[in-house]
């Protein structure tokens, strides 16, 4: 699992994609901060992460996961993984971890923003929970991206489908329909509002586990029919 996570993390930063994604995430965060500070003349970093989770995280998750299995399939390297690795789930978890680690790099840099603003006022300590839950949300988003990537050889198709799947529910999530359960950013908003929602954490974790299981089933189906 760690071997695959390290290898994929390295591959992300071997190509420009890792750097571009970190830059896009930080730039988007900067814009959100600027717009919020102009409006209210103060900054609540919980809200900055809330907006990032809603708008930029789905896109960067899609960009980071589009290579996960699609590239392995097109380069035929999946043969190496499937024949050498003992467990299918450890391959999937390794790939999700690589994405979480890459987003973690962006989060660590974003913490510098918070520290810079600490000069002008105390930082809300709930921010630690917000950031930790942001990582859990990243894990859930990454699991969706990895699952979609296992279905296609095309990175572009994987990226488009993942973005679509992650962003769409948040636009139709008002009320209590199916979309409200699929819109993970809504669960995250509750945490950012200052309520440590156990429900939200359970949703993120169970969403991740479901996606891992579905990816594993897809991989096994591939072995049987291909």
């Amino acid at each position: 699992m760690w071997a695959i996570a390290k290898k994929d993390f390295r591959a992300l930063f071997y190509s420009p994609i890792g750097y571009v994604v970190v830059a896009v995430f930080l730039a988007a965060m900067g814009i959100i901060m600027y717009l919020l500070s102009i409006e209210s003349r103060s900054i609540d970093f919980n809200i900055v992460y809330q907006y990032s989770a809603k708008y930029s995280l789905p896109i960067i998750s899609a960009l980071l996961t589009m290579k996960s299995f699609s590239e392995e399939k097109s380069a035929d390297t999946e043969k190496l993984l499937y024949t050498a690795s003992r467990k299918t789930t450890s391959i999937i978890i390794g790939k999700i971890l690589a994405v979480v680690m890459a987003v973690g790099v962006a989060i660590i840099i974003s913490v510098i923003y918070c520290l810079l603003f600490a000069k002008y006022g105390a930082i809300d300590l709930r921010l630690i929970i917000t950031i930790l839950c942001f990582m859990l949300l990243t894990m859930a988003y990454a699991s969706v991206g990895v699952m979609i990537s296992s279905l296609s050889e095309s990175q572009i198709i994987s990226a488009i489908l993942t973005t679509f799947f992650l962003i769409l529910p948040s636009f139709f999530s008002y009320g209590s329909g199916v979309f409200s359960y699929l819109a993970l950013s809504n669960f995250y908003s509750r945490i950012c509002d200052g309520r440590l929602s156990i429900n939200a954490i359970i949703v993120f974790v169970s969403f991740t586990i479901t996606c891992i299981l579905l990816t594993s089933i897809e991989m096994k189906r591939n072995r049987k029919f291909n």
Binding site: A3, D76, K79, Y82, A84, R223, K224, N226
Partner: protein, 310 residues
């Protein structure tokens, strides 16, 4: 030990493997021959656990193949898929890590494999920057790390220059006994030199399993090649004296006076002595005389032809 029992693989309505049965004993080096699309790679993928058979069973060391024991198999896939973003050492280390070799033993295992495959000069280079020959060796190293009991090598010599082929050939020979090896190749002369047993597959069916020598003896190819000085052009008249001769075929002019012919003989008789005795009678001087033997290539072509006729 590898054993396939009644293995069938369907891709939709297409039967890629049709009731395949064979057994490879421990320590054997076996060549797997077949035309493109005959089912070699599918069979190898099934043995490695990469894909599942539609019917039948695969046993490795008397245990049914599963994820648990598939790590006893080192697989070198066709076309050497590798991770270009890793260096040679990192790749081999990665393969060791996913095969479950513990950190304490891994460095030693990586060093050993690098030494065996003579990769010291490129170990710190990115895989994308090394030559095809080295890539082939790196892929081999990935299969070899962890000392798996079984090595499945799919076209390990494709794209290599003659020097590299000799190196890989010697390497496989050196692994004989310690590993059970199944290798596919289109270079039949290599298979002949390396393998003690050959399995030939055609249209998903095993059509022959034997030693290269036995397979070669299966074809009665009684031909004598003769190079002569024949100023009076009497060569065809030899037929009058030796009844076993079926046909004398001109091959080429070696020089102004010397000509090469191929003599097809009926049955198994050896006519070389008779030729030596009779030729002076016709003013023919024999410069070279040799009985040609059927090669593995002849056997392969012959068996494929027979199968197509059926």
């Amino acid at each position: 030990m590898i054993e396939l029992k009644n293995v069938t693989k369907m891709y939709g309505n297409f039967k890629a493997l049709d009731n395949v049965n064979f057994k490879i004993e421990k320590g054997e080096v076996v060549g797997f021959l077949g035309q493109n699309g005959a089912g070699k790679t599918t069979t190898m993928k099934i043995i490695t656990g990469l894909i599942e058979p539609t019917e039948g069973e695969v046993y490795v060391n008397n245990e049914r193949i599963s994820k648990k024991n598939s790590t006893k198999i080192g697989y070198m896939p066709e076309n050497t898929p590798l991770y270009n973003s890793l260096t040679v050492r990192e790749f081999i280390n990665f393969m060791g890590e996913i095969k479950g070799i513990k950190r304490a033993e891994r460095k030693k295992a990586v060093d050993e494999v690098i030494k065996i495959l003579n990769l010291q000069s490129v170990e710190k280079k990115l895989i994308k920057n090394i030559s095809r020959g080295y890539k082939q060796r790196v892929s081999f190293a990935g299969a070899l790390i962890g000392k798996p009991d079984i090595l499945i090598l799919d076209e390990p010599m494709v794209g290599l220059d003659p020097k590299q082929i000799i190196e890989i050939r010697n390497l496989i020979k050196s692994l004989k006994g310690a590993h059970t090896i199944l290798l596919s190749s289109h270079i039949l002369s290599e298979i002949n030199q390396i393998c003690e047993k050959v399995i030939i597959i055609e249209k998903g069916k095993i059509i022959a399993t034997d030693t290269p020598a036995n397979l070669e003896n299966q074809i009665s190819n009684n031909i004598v090649n003769i190079t002569v000085e024949d100023p009076k052009n009497n060569i065809q008249r030899i037929k009058e004296k030796i009844d076993e001769i079926d046909e004398i075929k001109f091959i080429k002019n070696i020089s102004k006076y010397e000509k090469e012919y191929e003599i097809k003989v009926i049955g198994d008789s050896d006519i070389r002595k008779s030729l030596m005795t009779i030729s002076p009678e016709f003013d023919i001087t024999i410069v070279e005389l040799r009985k040609s033997k059927s090669t593995l290539e002849d056997v392969f072509v012959n068996l494929i032809k027979e199968e197509e006729e059926i």
